[in-house]
Symmetry: C2
Subunit: 225 residues, 2 copies
């Protein structure tokens, strides 16, 4: 049996691996989880004993396949809950994250199954994040790019938005940016501001925000190999 906290660590390692690639450093994890580095060290030692992460001292950690399965399970819970809150309880997308975080460790497999069924087995949550399937196979990484990496003139469709920052999400909701929205990059001002055009509306996005948005190319064929 794993504690809630252990599940949180595994989920965090999973997400940080996606973001920066393995190995994930102690301080990176500590920041992400809001604890101190020694706390992380002692926790990852326990996770290593259980075969959930592989660790190289002074370097960082990486999930084992078993650890990844746990992370995907938790992530599936989290994202199904987010979808449920938005679809059936009228939550806005900036309100679902914390509630889902609180509940994700406490729902049974039965609950997960019935929730998925009720929702019609959705593929993505309200932020566009892919929901792991029931078999918990590692999903292939979808071919999305970070908006911040694009240049003036590109036309893209929003695929996913990071769900970790409520402020950001409210800002984007007001701006009309959500999964599916198509936009043209007008300018990347060096002051750290992105200017984009959405259906004729000009919208300004600070770099921090543009870095949290993942997009898919549109109109021009940019199909990478």
């Amino acid at each position: 049996m794993l504690s809630d906290v252990m599940e949180d660590y595994l989920k965090a390692v999973y997400e940080l691996e996606r973001e920066h690639g393995p190995p994930v450093g102690t301080s990176t994890l500590a920041d992400y989880l809001g604890v101190t580095p020694p706390t992380v060290t002692s926790m990852v030692e326990k996770l290593e004993e259980r075969g959930l992460v592989e660790r190289e001292k002074y370097k960082g950690v990486e999930l084992t396949p078993e650890g990844e399965t746990v992370a995907l399970e938790v992530l599936r819970h989290h994202r199904l809950l987010e979808a449920f809150l938005a679809d059936h309880l009228d939550y806005e997308w900036d309100e679902v994250h914390d509630e889902a975080d609180a509940l994700e460790h406490h729902i049974s497999e039965e609950f997960e199954k019935r929730l998925a069924q009720k929702l019609g087995d959705p593929a993505v949550d309200p932020h566009g994040d892919p929901i792991p399937t029931e078999d918990l196979e590692p999903p292939e990484s979808p071919d999305t790019e970070v908006l911040a990496d694009h240049e003036a003139g590109d036309r893209v469709a929003v695929a996913r938005v990071s769900d970790r920052d409520d402020e950001e999400l409210r800002y984007l909701k007001d701006a009309g940016v959500e999964p599916g929205t198509e936009l043209d990059v007008v300018e990347h001002a060096p002051i750290g501001m992105f200017v984009v055009d959405i259906d004729g509306e000009t919208v300004h996005l600070p770099d921090r925000v543009a870095a949290a948005i993942r997009v898919r190319p549109v109109d021009e064929r940019v199909t990478e190999t």
Copy 2:
């Protein structure tokens, strides 16, 4: 801030007070919660420090008004969740208790509010247990009696069934006993078996089961003062 465990203790004291009246003894609580008596002693000391229970050493505990409010809050969460699981996720009434127990400490006030709204502010959960109202005022005790106290010839309507024992609940579901069911007491066999008649069907209920059913008199005026 109260821990989940503290909330469980307060809920347990509340329910045991209803059942046997205060004060609630250490071993009674220990049995109910599945822990040892010393564990209860140390926990109720902490609850006393926080003003949630009143305690007389070697006698037992009793909720203060503040403690009762916490208990009612948790109970409201629990019963709203049970109602939700049964109404919207197709759970059977013997399956809802454990799931609700796991979730009751982790839902936000916002979630509670939206759930109640979605359910149409139900007054009772699937077992007939009253759901505390949003203002958490202590509900007046409804005038129900234990089925086991009735004699042959009485006609009664089932009001509530204890939700603590899955076996029992499945047995009763099969027998067609649920809140609202009307039945005639045919015989109380001294072997510890109740015989009742439901719409012409004869149903046998062991004493243990009959003790978990609360009923309201029907047909004959037995309005007690």
